[in-house]
Amino acid sequence: MRFGGLTAIDELSFAAPVRQITSIIGPNGAGKTTLFNCITGFYRPSAGSIVLAHPVRGSLRLETLESHRVAREAQVLRTFQNTRLFPKMTVLENMIVAQHNALQAASFFSLAGLFKLRRYRLAEKQALEQAMSWLQRLKLLEFANIAAGVLPYGTQRRVEIGRAMCADPVLLCLDEPAAGLNPRESAELNDLLLELSRESGISVLLIEHDMNVVMKISDHIVVLNYGRKIAEGAPLLVRKDPHVVKAYLGEEDFQEQRA
């Protein structure tokens, strides 16, 4: 991915295994969020390809799809580094909006909905149940009818994950979900993510700076620096990789200076 003269991601290639949690780590400006933007269709990569093995639709070339089609057809959902909820809408409405496409199809260009036909009422009931079950699972039930924008930051993050889950993802891309969470909330998040990948069969891509989270739950870690992959592998291996240590701590320089 290039922006004018700046190459943000260069010769990056990795695979995120199905039903596993793949973490992408790296110093600030390494190109992690740019990578997400490429995957979810907000940027079109200048070169290369991104292939998703969709369980139903076969392999999809994500870089050829627009952002809303990445979410709708490839079922790749994402959250944002600075949460992007619909602040004036209630938490429940946020969850329902995430199911827009299914509901819109059921409403038959809104006609079935305008006349409150059975088929639309059923679809709406289903959507509501889906939303409520996720709210319950994320312990958000009590906030259902409250405007999302007034909730505390940590809760908003959970709402955003719940909203993405309501859209029925195959691949879930989380951009720093643990930022701003206290240790307890962050531990809860760990459990949730593990549950999602193990039980709900969702593949997770995770950008995270909190090493407690990354090391505990990742199956696979990819390390970026200046847009290039510098290491990849299981958490224990990556932690000891000299390139990673250098990128994060600059240890060699440090030792050289002392010597």
Partner: protein
């Protein structure tokens, strides 16, 4: 509750005494100001009394005070309760989200709108003004879709109003179409123009969108002024047929055997009948608009409109096709404006580009903003304020617009978010699931 909040526990006797004091003050003040008046008899002034008017004034003060005190107490009580609840750190989930007062106000206004022409059947001015209010209410509800719900700032809304009006004017004068036949065609045409404006401006938001829509409104007006062959230019189009009551025209009985409304129902003909009919017609159109918009708001499209207003990028990330959602908002908003335009042309019988200047767009936008973006009832209140204030202000002659401007500033100081800021959720969590441990 009563023991904790003694202020709200006023007995009926106390309330009556309180209102009685106010009535007494009103009486004392009213005797010189209202009760006595001077009449020029010949060449000297004679003092006359106006006791009935004085009594009406005192009674109004008495009842008004009762109502005011009651609602103020209710507000205060609710505020205290809310604070108490917050202090207990529980999250309050209202069983019914609507404030009863506001809901009441809506029904009350509807009732008043229904009986108004019956009460003022002899007073053409009142019914005419009410009709104007309703046109603006309908326009406000239409623009509310674009600005209030979808958050797309549209400064050229009057263009769609013009498209609807000219569509009916041309269809009826050139092709002899009736009002009801033209209505869907004109609405569709206006929706098409909405798409024509929406398509090139998809990427624009906020100020940039406002400028383009402003230009669009002017383009339509200038085309109407200059394309003389089509629109009659500045002279406009005259003698547009008035709508009839299921084929029965409103006109004086004539000898040529045409069945008229008055003749069919065995009534005596009066020109007021048409005025009242037009009033009920726009009331019907406006209510249908309201029903349509409130229903749409509870549908996926409506929620997507609001979601786009809130965060377009998040919408894309959730798989919502922003293009179609925006275009549907533009098209439906434009259609409603076009329908109002058809009615306007049918009511006036004459239209010219003069009626579709920018200040009209600004007024409609002001109605939406003053009412509180996205609030249906707010639009009604704001239309009442914006149409009636200049009417009331007629007595103030050259200070009329000054008064108008001051009122608008006051509203914005008092309620910066508009008259009704509260947003109704489009979907509520079902009650049993709200139960908390």
């Amino acid at each position: 509750m009563r023991a904790i909040f003694p202020r709200q526990a006023l007995s009926i006797a106390e309330r009556l005494r309180d209102a009685g004091w106010i009535a007494f003050v009103a009486l004392v003040l009213g005797v010189p100001m209202i009760g006595l008046t001077t009449v020029d008899a010949g060449n000297k002034l004679v003092v006359h009394t106006r006791l009935p008017l004085l009594m009406e004034f005192v009674a109004a003060c008495f009842l008004g005070r009762l109502a005011l005190r009651f609602s103020l107490d209710k507000f205060a009580q609710r505020k205290i309760e809310r604070q108490a609840q917050e202090a207990r750190r529980t999250v309050q989930i209202p069983a019914r989200s609507t404030l009863p007062l506001i809901k009441w106000l809506g029904w009350w206004l509807l009732g008043a709108a229904l009986v108004l022409p019956l009460m003022f059947s002899g007073n053409r001015y009142v019914v005419d003004t009410a009709t104007t209010v309703l046109i603006y209410v309908m326009l406000g509800w239409g623009l509310n879709v674009v600005v209030g719900l979808a958050g797309l700032l549209d400064l050229g809304y009057v263009a769609f109003y013009a498209v609807g009006a000219y569509a009916y004017a041309l269809l009826s004068t050139q092709f002899g179409w009736g009002f009801w036949q033209s209505l869907p065609v004109a609405g569709g045409l206006a929706a098409f123009f909405g798409l024509a404006l929406g398509w090139p401006t998809l990427r624009l938001r906020g100020d940039y969108l406002a400028i383009v829509t402003l230009g669009f409104g002017e383009i339509i007006r200038i085309i109407l002024v200059n394309w003389t062959e089509l629109s009659g230019g500045p002279n406009g189009i005259a003698s547009i047929p008035r709508p009839s009551f299921f084929g029965l025209p409103f006109q004086a009985p004539s000898d040529d055997g045409v069945q008229t409304f008055a003749g069919f129902f065995g009534l005596e003909y009066s020109p007021g009948q048409r005025v009242i009919f037009l009033y009920y017609l726009i009331l019907l159109l406006a209510l249908l608009t309201n029903l349509f918009v409130t229903r749409m708001r509870r549908l996926p499209v409506g929620r997507a409109w609001e979601a786009i207003r809130e965060d377009e990028i998040a919408c894309k990330a959730l798989g919502i096709n922003v293009v179609t959602v925006k275009l549907s908002a533009f098209a439906l908003g434009a259609m409603l404006g076009g329908l109002a335009g058809v009615f306007f042309a049918a009511r006036q019988g004459f239209i010219s580009p003069e009626s579709f200047v920018f200040s009209e767009s600004a007024t409609i936008l002001a109605i939406v903003v003053l009412g509180g973006m996205g609030s249906q009832l707010g639009v009604v209140l704001a239309s009442l304020v914006l149409v009636l204030l200049p009417e009331i202000g007629r007595d103030f002659a050259e200070y009329r617009m000054l008064l108008f401007g001051m009122a608008m500033i006051l509203i914005m100081v008092w309620r910066p978010g508009g008259l009704l800021v509260r947003r109704e959720p489009a979907i509520m969590a079902p009650a049993p699931m709200q139960a908390r441990p």
